[in-house]
Amino acid sequence: MSVGAGSIEVGSELPEQVFRVTRADLVRYAGASGDFNPIHWNDRTATAVGLPGVIAHGMFTMALAGRAVTAWTGDPSAVVEQHVRFGRPVVVPDDDEGAEVTVRGKVGALLDDGRARVDLTVTSGGDKVLSLARAVVTLA
């Protein structure tokens, strides 16, 4: 499924996506991305630098925001731009539930060449974790 240029307008909403993030996900992301900073897997290091505990990689949260957009467009290559500002960390407890990351979004602007800007709100535990999150997508 892909989103057609004719069917969307400014204010059109993306389906809300809720992602569960556990320590195992962070370890897997560390390996795949090559970012082995211990604040993403080691409580001792995380608390020593003043964090409440192990936190998710900012880039992992950005990737989840991207997934919410590509789930909507139906085509990962439709994302031509993505921009995020990391606001608050996603704290991931050492249990089976982990943390929840919720991505909401709506079309903020229709651009030239059949593109649209999508404005995202990304929260965890009720707090906004990305203080800015936008994507530009090409509509089918």
Binding site: F19, D25, R28, Y29, G31, A32, S33, G34, D35, G58, M59, F60, M62, A63, L64, G66, R67, T70, D75, P76, S77, V79, V80, E81, Q82, H83, V84, R85, F86, L132
Partner: protein, 148 residues
């Protein structure tokens, strides 16, 4: 130490070639929980109009973040890596990254400023193929928190 504005515009030599593999794209897609077949199945990717499997949009960080780190190794920058956090990230995709790409990263300092004791450095990494085809511009804003 305040960052020197003269650093803005400084460019670093191109990286070694990074060859994008199908297995690495699949591994990254699994790690972010994406089950889209265009990341794993060549036939599905071809049916969607791509010459080979394509990477998820944030895959560019695998190549670009290490390239951005050359800035921190510059003795004129003088930032302690231990104080650095990722403040902001931006990608402009000229086309999707795909398996078989041989990418070269060129890093340039786009901005350098010190605000309230925090050093803020913006590194732009231009990813292009070995032949010079632009693929992605990845811009990372790194913040080195001031010592209170």
């Amino acid at each position: 130490m305040a960052l020197d504005r003269e650093l803005v515009g400084r460019s670093y030599p191109p990286s070694a070639v990074y060859e994008v593999g199908r297995a690495k794209i699949a591994e990254f897609a699994t790690a972010i929980g994406s089950d889209d077949p265009v990341h794993r199945d060549v036939e599905a990717a071809r049916a969607a109009g791509h010459p080979d499997v394509v990477a998820p949009p944030t895959f560019a960080i695998v190549v670009s973040l290490e390239a951005a780190m050359v800035v921190l190794q510059d003795p004129d920058v003088g930032i302690d890596y231990g104080r650095v956090v990722h403040g902001e990230q931006r990608f402009a995709h000229h086309r999707p990254i795909r398996a078989g790409d041989r990418l070269v990263a060129t890093t340039t300092i786009d901005a350098a400023r010190t605000v309230a004791g925090n050093d803020m450095l913006t590194a732009r990494v231009d990813l292009a193929t070995e032949d010079g085809e632009p693929v992605c511009t990845a811009t990372s804003m790194l913040v080195a928190r001031g010592i209170a």
